[in-house]
Structure formats: C-alpha cells, structure tokens
C-alpha cells in the first residue's frame, strides 16, 4: 500500500526502445538462422545489443538505488516483479513436465495398444487397439522406450531410432558412477551455500558472504560442467540424442532448458558476487542478491523434479 513518500517515476528513457529493437532483431535473426543456409549473424547482433542494453539498464537501476531514489514501495515493486517472473518460469517448466507426463502415462500406452491407467480406462479403447494393429504393430509400451514406434514398424529404415542406453537409475551397485546423482548433490549443496551467504550478509559479515557466494557460483559452474559431461556421454557413448524419439526429446529438452536456467542463474549470482566485492549491498538492502538467490532456489527445485521424473522413476 502507498505511503506518504513519493514513488520514483523515471523520466523518459532510451532503454526500452533499444531493448525492444534488440529483441526484434534477435527474433528475426533466430528465425532466419534456423532456415536452411541461414547464419547466426543477425541473431548475434541482436544478442549483443540486448546484452549491452541490459547491462546499462541494471547499472542505472543500481545507481538509482544508491542515490536513494528507490523508496521501500518501489523496492516492493521489484520484489513483486521478480516473484511473478519466477512464477512464469514455473509455468514454462510445467508445460514441459506436462508433456512428459502425458506422453509417458497416456500416449505410450495407447500407441502400444494398451489401456492407459486403471482408473482412466481399464480396457484399451478401439482407437488404441487399432493403433497396435494398423499403425504401430510390434510396438510395446515401455518407458523409456528404447525402440520407437517407427523402428518397431520400419526397422533400420526408421527416421526416429531409439537410444542404445538410457539415463535411468543403473542399480545400486553402479550408483556412484551415476552422474545425475552427483549433479543433484552439487545443486542441492549450492542451495544451502547460497543461503549461508544470505545469512552472512544479513549479519553484515561481508567476508563470509563473499566466500559462500563464491562457493555457490563455483558449484553452479561445476554443475554445468557435469551436465556437459553427461551430454557428451549421451551423444558419444549411449546413442542418446535429441532425435532418439520421445525419450531423447523429453530428456534433452527438460534437462537442456534447466541447464540454460542454471547458466542464467549462475551469471546472475556471479554478478551479485562481483557487486558484493565492490561493496554493494547492506544488511537490509540487498535486493539484487536476493532476487538472484530466489532464482537459484527455483532452478534447484526444478532439478529435484527432473531428478525424480526424468532419471529415477524411469
């Protein structure tokens, strides 16, 4: 609710139109890039413009805060903005998780000519039965599907071929060689370290803050390193690619988008770390850091969902 203090409404700003131009150029560039024979030039130009304007934008916001223009009410607007942005990100991931559940629970059964789940339809519908006879004979319902419906019908001529190996839980004897477990440990640890950094900042313990935030950033980078390692293993040794049917599709899209968000979160935390070293933030004014840490907790929670539904329960 409003208080007596006046709310800072910035005067005219050149930032938004440059940002909009950057986004427009990026969108146009990305679309022409994916076309056959397309190049990334325009897209990269747009990205450069966008990166520049975002840097400038946030510098201005930080500067305004340091000049005391940001009233508690304005800061609360920033808080709301960040929280609702994270909510929109939650919905983005919900879309891909929803696709995974739909495909796993319903489509996979129907293509194989089976009933989906007991309470939903306990005998196969005519359509599902027809699938097994006319469309995809030989396809057997399984998750992860190591043989795609295409392969079941067309054999080696198939366009979509299943992977040689999958990323599922390899059994207790090989658990220590299972990369996703280490990834989980790294990311969950980083959620704790960022929390320790937060508490340290609230206590005005700058040294502790710098150290623990630094450790968090390092853990984020380490996670990404492990993720790249896992992708290399998938592509080179396991025959698991984006094109390995729906399993490869959901696996790479979910973990890939998560990885992109970890990258973004790591960059955000890194910037806050540099700001911390430069002496920004006080024990009661630290929104930039807090926003980045909320984002970090969010990517952590998404990973827990991924670990459960993409890796463990496969």
């Amino acid at each position: 609710m409003s208080t007596e203090s006046t709310y800072y409404v910035p005067d005219q700003s050149k930032l938004p139109i440059i940002a909009a131009t950057g986004m427009g150029v990026m969108a146009y560039g990305a679309a022409s890039w994916v076309l056959e024979g397309g190049t990334a030039t325009i897209f990269l130009l747009g990205s450069l413009l966008m990166a520049g304007v975002l840097y400038k934008w946030w510098s201005i916001v930080i500067d305004e805060n340091m000049r005391g223009l940001a009233s508690p009410q304005l800061k609360h607007s920033y808080v709301l903005g960040m929280l609702w942005f994270i909510f929109s990100e939650v919905m983005f991931f919900a879309c891909f998780f929803g696709a995974l559940f739909y495909v796993r629970v319903l489509v996979n059964s129907w293509i194989g000519g089976e009933a989906a789940v007991g309470w939903f339809d306990d005998t196969p519908t005519d359509a599902a039965a027809a699938n097994a006879v006319h469309l995809w004979p030989g396809y057997e319902t399984a998750w992860p599907p190591m043989i795609t419906p295409d392969q079941a019908v067309n054999g080696d001529a198939a366009q979509f071929k299943g992977p040689d190996q999958n990323m599922s839980f390899p059994g207790w004897d090989r658990i220590l060689h299972w990369l996703p477990l280490w990834n989980t440990l790294v990311l969950i640890t980083s959620s704790f370290t960022v929390h320790i950094a937060h508490t340290a900042l609230k206590d005005d313990n700058r040294k502790k803050f710098n150290i623990w935030l630094g450790i968090t950033v390092a853990l984020g980078i380490f996670f990404l390193f492990l993720q790249v390692e896992e992708y290399i293993e998938a592509y080179v040794h396991m025959g698991l690619t984006l094109e390995s049917g729906i399993y490869g599709t959901t696996f790479f899209m979910l973990t890939g988008f998560h990885g992109m968000h970890v990258t973004l979160g790591t960059v955000m935390l890194l910037i806050q770390w540099i700001r911390g070293l430069k002496g920004h933030f006080t024990h009661d004014d630290q929104f930039g850091f807090e926003a980045a840490s909320w984002y970090w907790h969010f990517v952590d929670v998404v990973w827990v969902g991924l670990f459960l539904f993409v890796y463990v329960l496969a």
Binding site: S2, V9, Q12, P16, Y28, V34, F85, C95, T249
Partner: protein, 524 residues
C-alpha cells in the same frame, strides 16, 4: 518532471521522442490503443478478403493457399494484435487513475512491453511477402499442419510469438505489481473498481499461460528444425499433445480477452443506470471463479480428437460449470439496470448490446459444451459464429464502449453523440447480419476454414458477407469520430463528464493531467 509532455509545437523530433522514450502510463496507454486500432484495421482487412471470397461459391478473387493465410492471420492479428493490446492500453490509462497511483509500478518495463509489439507484428506480417507465404495453418496452429506441413516462414511466426509473449508477461507483471503495491491508502482490495479487479485476474492468467504458449511454439521449433518428436507418433510423441498444450494456453486466453471486457461493462452500466453496481462482491468472486475454471476445461475444444470417455464427460461437465459464475455476472448487470434511471449514450448502447449478445454467445457455448452434440458442431461455422459473438460483440463492443466512455476524460473533448449512435446501430445490425446466419450455416454442416462451399450454403454466405462489409464500414466511422473528437470535438472540463460516474478517475480534472496522483489521495 515539471515540464509537460512535448507537443507538436516543440518540433517533430521532440514530439516523436516523447512517444518513443516515454515512461508515462497515459502515453503508453495511448500507444497501445492506437497500435491495437491499426491492427484491428489490418485484421479487419483480412476478414474483408475472406468474406469477399466467400460472397459467392467457387473461387473468385484469391487462391485457396492465400485464403488459408488470411484466416490464420486474421485470427492471430485480431487476438494478439487488436483485442489484447486494446485492453492493455485501457489498463495503462485507467488503473493508476482508478487506484490513486502516480503511474504504473515499473514504468520503463511498461514502455518495453509496448515497443516489442510493433517488432513482433512486423515479423509476423512480413511472412506474407516471403517465399512460401505466411502462416496458413489456422490461428490455433495445430501440429502437424504447423510442423511437418508448414511453410518455412513458420520459424518467423514462432519467434514472433515468443517476443509477443514476453511483452504480455512483462505487461501483466507490471499490472499485478501496480495493483498489489500502488493502491492509495484506504483503497482496499474490495473497494477497487471492477475494471481493476478483472484486469488483475486477467494479468494472473496471462503470467500463467503465456509461458505455456512459449513452450508450445518451442516444441514446434524443435520438431521442425532439430529432429525431436513431441508431435510425431512415429517417435513416440503425439500430435494431440499439441492440442492439449495449446488449449491449456488457449482456454484461459479467451478469458484473458473477455474478463477486461466484463470490467469495462461493469464500470459503464452503473454510470448510465445511476446506481451502484449490483452485487459487487459476487462480481469479484464470479470473476475469480471463471478464471479458476478456465484452467480445467481446455479439452472441450478437442471433443472429436479421440479422448477416453471419462475425459469427454469430465470436460463437458466442468465446462458447463462456467455458466454459473457467468450467469451471476449477467444477472448482476441486468439487476444494476433494473429500476435505474437509464440513459442511452453510445457507451451504454454498446454495453447493453454486449450483455445481450455476449449472453447469446454464451448460450451457443453451452450447446458446444455438450460433448455428444459437439460431434456435429465441431469445426463448422457454428463455432465461428459462437466465438465471434463473444469476441466481437463481447470484447470489441466493450472496447468500443470504453473508448467512447473515457475519451472525454482523456482528451477533454466530447465526441459527437449522433455519430456515435449511428456507428452503434450500423455495427449492431451489421454484426448480427454477419454472424447470425453463420449459426445456420454451421448447423447445416458448412465446415470452417475452407475457401469454397457447396451451393446449398450460397444464400446465407452472401447475407453474411454483406453484413461483414457493413460492420467493417462502421469501424471507419469509428476511426473518423475518434479523430474528429480529438481534433475538433466540443471541449469539456467537467471532471465527472458523465452524471452518474463514480470513482477516483472522475475526481481528476478533465482532460486528465499528464501526471496524476503524485501524492496518493486519501480514501475514506
């Protein structure tokens, strides 16, 4: 910021930079409104091409390929370019004035949300001139039409939708932050005008579903260019998955379009009935209930796709449930008018027409919600008629009403009442001539989205086309009336403008100063 906004007298450069660099909610609101009107004219032109081709059976003017692009672009431009930005424009103008805030919560982001749109629509419409043509798969862009069988330009469509979605998300976050954080002291949630309530709920819907749309187009992008198989059963995916995701976005989307329209009508009817809105709190709860239900009914768009019977039944009954809160709203509007001292200025005429025609569109919606009956109605002109009754007579009529209602407040000049009423009657009659016969065509079995039709449909199609040209003409009158008002309208400086108008925005001087409520007003 002591100086006022730049005018033409300050030179072109200053005047243009005022609009491009602005952080003022009123300027941004104006930009949104003019942009949406431009898109409305463009989308309308596409509609005219469609109706001209359908004037007679057989192919006369355009090729079927181009016809498909026209139906697709008409839908996309009207939904994302005309109706949504129009209501965002109204939100920008009115919400800060209604809740006693100095501006929107995040003014620079506000400007960014707007300026993304011209880029997005430039990208989208430029595809019409590219090799392969524009999107031709219908505004619902079902896979595999939009993936396997799509023209190459689909990638421009995909990224255009991406940045458009970013614009919507930023705009909605701004509205939510404004309403939650910027209300004047004493402006409790349950004292907020209905328009503010409907918009904050709409903004919530947008933040929740625009990312899902982004997910859907991303999946398309991957399927088209990177060999994934989200929508391809050969790889273990399912084209129906696309429909589920799309309609999980798409159903809340139709409420995103209509809820602010409800808000506008809930402001106008009390004014011209000279009575407070009947059942304010039930209006708020009904809006929230509609928003909640909109998330759990999406597959009623897919009754014929081959769902298990349990799914058909669930989505049928859940959909019918929406009639309850919607009925509450219609009841309240009518009861507000009951024994009021009614006058029938242009905004009121459009609002009453809204109540009648929207309700009619709601009833045809109830018919469509019956899964068994929908097997007959699905993808016929009955559906086209149904959603144009709620989109045009619903959203567009209420948007028109809003412009007439608030225009005097915005520019301090009165529009020409006679011309306003003339526009209303042409629009009202033209609209019904266009879309009423489409019910009959649909029930008789004419499928939607085809460039040609059987001879038995010829008469009503001709009637429908005549109505469409009439309705299109009414919009030219609208444009003329608005420009005439801004330029040469009769000046007025009565803060209240309308005798029965109540609320903070009517306590401000007319025309509304560039900066309002720099210090928040105190409410009792």
């Amino acid at each position: 910021m002591a100086h006022g906004p730049a005018t033409l007298a300050d030179g072109w450069l200053k005047y243009i930079s005022r609009w491009v660099f602005t952080t003022n909610h009123k300027d941004i609101g104006t930009l949104y409104l003019w942009f949406s009107f431009a898109m409305f004219i463009m989308g309308g032109a596409f509609a005219m091409v469609i109706r001209a081709e359908l004037f007679q059976p057989g192919m006369q003017l355009i090729k079927p390929e181009f016809f498909n692009q026209m139906t697709t672009m008409h839908g996309l431009v009207m939904v994302f370019g005309a109706i949504m930005p129009a209501f965002v424009g109204l939100a920008n103008w009115m919400i800060p004035m209604m809740i006693g805030a100095p501006d929107m919560a995040l003014p620079r982001m506000n400007n960014l949300s707007f300026w993304i749109l011209p880029f997005a629509f430039a990208i989208l419409t430029s595809t019409l001139f590219m090799e392969g043509g524009g999107p031709n798969f219908g505004w619902t862009f079902y896979a595999p039409l939009s993936t396997t069988y799509a023209p190459d330009t689909v990638n421009y469509f995909i990224f255009g939708v991406h940045i458009m979605g970013a614009s919507s998300i930023m705009g909605s976050i701004n509205i939510i932050a404004t309403v939650m954080n910027m209300r004047a002291p004493g402006m409790t949630y349950m004292k907020m005008p209905m328009f503010v309530w409907t918009w904050v709920i709409t903004a919530f819907l947008l933040v929740a579903v625009m990312p899902v749309l982004a997910g859907a187009v991303t999946m398309m992008l991957m399927d088209i260019n990177f060999g994934t198989s989200f929508f391809d059963a050969a790889g273990g995916g399912d084209p129906v998955l696309f429909q589920h995701i799309f309609w999980f976005f798409g159903h809340p989307e139709v409420y995103i379009i209509i809820l602010p329209a409800f808000g506008v009508v809930s402001q106008i009817i009390p004014t011209f009935s000279r009575k407070p809105l009947f059942g304010y709190s039930s209006m708020v709860y009904a809006t929230a209930a509609i928003a909640f239900l909109s998330f759990v009914v999406w597959a009623h768009h897919m009754f014929t796709v081959g769902m298990p019977i349990a799914g058909e039944l669930y989505f049928m009954y859940a959909t019918m449930l929406i009639a309850v809160p919607t009925g509450v709203k219609v009841f309240n509007w009518i009861t507000t008018m009951y024994r009021g001292s009614l006058t029938f200025e242009t905004p009121m005429l459009f609002s009453i027409a809204f109540v009648i025609l929207f309700t009619f569109g709601g009833f045809t919606g109830m018919m469509l919600s019956i899964a068994a009956a929908d097997m007959q109605y699905h993808d016929t002109y009955f559906v086209v008629a149904h959603f144009h009754y709620v989109m045009v007579a619903g959203a567009v009529f209420s948007g028109t009403a809003a412009v007439y209602y608030w225009l005097p407040k915005w520019c301090g000049k009165m529009y020409d009442e006679t011309m306003g009423k003339l526009q209303f009657w042409i629009a009202f009659i033209g609209f019904n001539i266009t879309f009423m016969p489409q019910h009959f065509l649909g029930l008789a079995g004419m499928p939607r989205r085809y460039a040609d039709y059987g001879l038995q449909f010829a008469d009503w199609n001709m009637v429908s086309s005549i109505g469409a040209f009439m309705y299109g003409g009414a919009q030219i009158l609208f444009l003329y009336n608005v420009i005439r008002t801004i330029g040469w309208g009769k000046p007025t400086n009565d803060p209240q403008v309308w005798e029965g108008a109540e609320g903070l925005e009517w306590t401000l001087p007319t025309p509304a100063p560039y900066h309002t409520f720099a210090t928040p007003p105190k409410l009792k």
